[in-house]
Amino acid sequence: MARFILKRLVQSIFVMLAVAFLAFSLFRFVGDPISQMTGVETSVEDQERLREELGLNDPFVVQFIRFTGDILRGDFGYSFRTREPIDAMLLTRLPATLELGTVALMISLVAGIPAGVYTALRPRGIFSQSILIGTLIGVSIPTFVIGILLIFLFGVQLGWLPTYGRGGTVEIGWWRSSFLTVEGWRSLVLPALTLGLFQLTLTMRLVRAQMMEVMRTDHIRFAIARGVPWRSIRYRHALANTMIPVITIIGLQFGGVIAFSIVTESVFQWPGMGLLFLESIRFVDIPVMSVYLVVIAFFFVLINLLVDLLYFAIDPRLRVRESA
């Protein structure tokens, strides 16, 4: 077991390093930091001095090591656009995205998994067919359209929910949370639904496909042949075996949530990391772009590591050694 964890850790570090490398190359080669930071008035000598001070003339590897060290220490540098320290910007934005993402993921799992199971077990019912059609459309509608639709329906026509911004937030230390006020939750509903709906359709289709495949396996047939009660067959046998591959995909789903949060935050003007990234693209704010990359990759790798450990804990074939 320890060996497995070690191996996965090493892999994760490798991926992080690769991303850091990418991020750093971005930082180093795209555009000229100096001309971004200074104006036209700064003399050439001053620019040169700045370059020297910031260590921009050092060899590539040295700079990369410095870059990595900085990141590890939490020193993310400064934004070209706003001149603010990036770590401060992150701290304000991160909670917004994380809370949004978590709620969206919850929606997708809590609704998606049961829906997937149901449509797999009763494929011909009218309910199943309509769910399936619904998911087909759901997968085909871009996230921003879902957002617009929800805004239109609940925000404009019915006027029930706010259509932009974060509403009531409460600060706990440096974490600004929407969870603690009704206003906060009301602002959260539409964006979370938008983000979650797309993920939900994906989850549902996946669970359904897996479950249907499992129901076809020999050990299910054998369980039926032994007269094991149907309820037990469906849940204890089939569902348990379905969840194993599904768990890995859920890890990947988190990546989807992060990605589509960019769009959702844009539609709802939700002040999260996605919006920050978008603005950094528009203004070619390279430091922010690089840091965003690294942070996102970090979360992704973390989730994947956790999923692997979960996998490991559940599947006895990995846990228990084979004996003769």
């Binding site: 555009g31 921003f144 359209v145 249907m212 990947l252 990605a259 950094s280 528009r282 990759a297 790798v301």
Partner: protein
């Protein structure tokens, strides 16, 4: 070879699936319309001289206050919405198709080679794919756009917008093809006909292209349809976010973005008509993709 497969089972199943047939019809209509846009559309929305502000914000022909010249109404600049949609679809489809083709060629070649040759090459390709998978499609696309914006001077970037977006989308999609191709190759590689070919001393490239590739077309076709839909959605999303095509040569995504500004004010057609169009197109393609998936996976029926 493909025709043989399609002829035997495919056509039979196809004619028995009303959904698939409807989807195919819709797709063909839209694609033809888009393809022949320059000849079909009443006006050319990219020609700045062909429209004027006076005609702006006119509702579609069936509402009151409409101008029969503009069947689906006009946007804020006075451009005919129908023409904009046709031209926009043309752009969207064009970008998506090219991006998908590039992704396909790149992904399948790498996947084929990685699966067949194995060893270090496979490990390298898979590492790259893993890293790329850590960064979802939109992210990659946005990144590429951002990078190009940083590298290229502003004017050049605008000219190359089309190419940049296509490249960005292609680079986010190749991994799907590569992984599917590689997985299929693993399955085929264990089959005896491959062993027979290797035994005979055939060249690896010949084995990959002439023996293995024809056998993995099925799953690749499914991925191609799914990715085509993804590419269209991706491009629409990029345009919506404002990093896609510029406002004066709009794709469907840009039209929706413009339309969103009028969400509250009542000029509903600018937003909803392109939206419906986009959704219908993607639904049709996804339906075809599902149909193909069922076709190549008889065990799931």
């Amino acid at each position: 070879m493909l025709t043989r497969l399609v002829q035997s089972e495919g056509i039979w199943l196809f004619t028995r699936s009303p959904a698939a047939m409807l989807a195919a019809v819709v797709t063909i209509v839209i694609v033809t319309g888009a393809l022949f846009a320059p000849w079909i559309a009443p006006t050319d929305p990219y020609d700045l001289s062909s429209f004027s502000l006076i005609d702006g914000l006119l509702p579609p022909a069936w509402e009151e206050g409409a101008d029969p010249r503009f069947l689906l109404g006009t946007d804020d600049q006075g451009r005919d919405l129908l023409s904009s949609i046709l031209y926009g679809a043309r752009l969207s489809l064009g970008i998506a198709a090219v991006a998908m083709a590039v992704a396909l060629v790149l992904g399948v070649s790498l996947g084929l080679a990685a699966g067949y040759l194995g060893g270090r090459f496979d490990a390298v390709v898979m590492r790259i794919a893993d890293v790329q998978l850590a960064l979802p499609a939109i992210l990659t696309a946005l990144l590429i756009d951002g990078i190009s914006r940083g590298i290229l001077p502003a004017a050049l970037h605008d000219d190359l917008r089309l190419a940049v977006i296509t490249l960005a989308i292609a680079l986010s999609l190749w991994v799907n093809f590569a992984r599917t191709a590689r997985a299929s190759v693993f399955v085929e590689r264990n089959k005896d006909y491959v062993s027979a070919a290797i035994m005979m001393g055939q060249h690896p490239v010949r084995i990959m292209l002439r023996h293995i590739l024809p056998n993995i077309v099925g799953p690749l076709l499914v991925i191609a349809t799914v990715d085509l839909a993804s590419a269209i959605l991706l491009e629409a999303t990029l345009s919506f976010l404002g990093v896609g095509l510029p406002a004066d040569s709009p794709s469907l995504g840009t039209l929706i973005r413009i339309g969103m500004q009028y969400l509250l004010s009542g000029e509903w057609w600018i937003l909803w008509i392109p939206t419906v169009f986009l959704v219908v197109l993607v639904v049709a393609i996804n339906l075809l993709g599902d149909f193909l998936r069922d076709l190549f996976n008889p065990s799931l029926r």
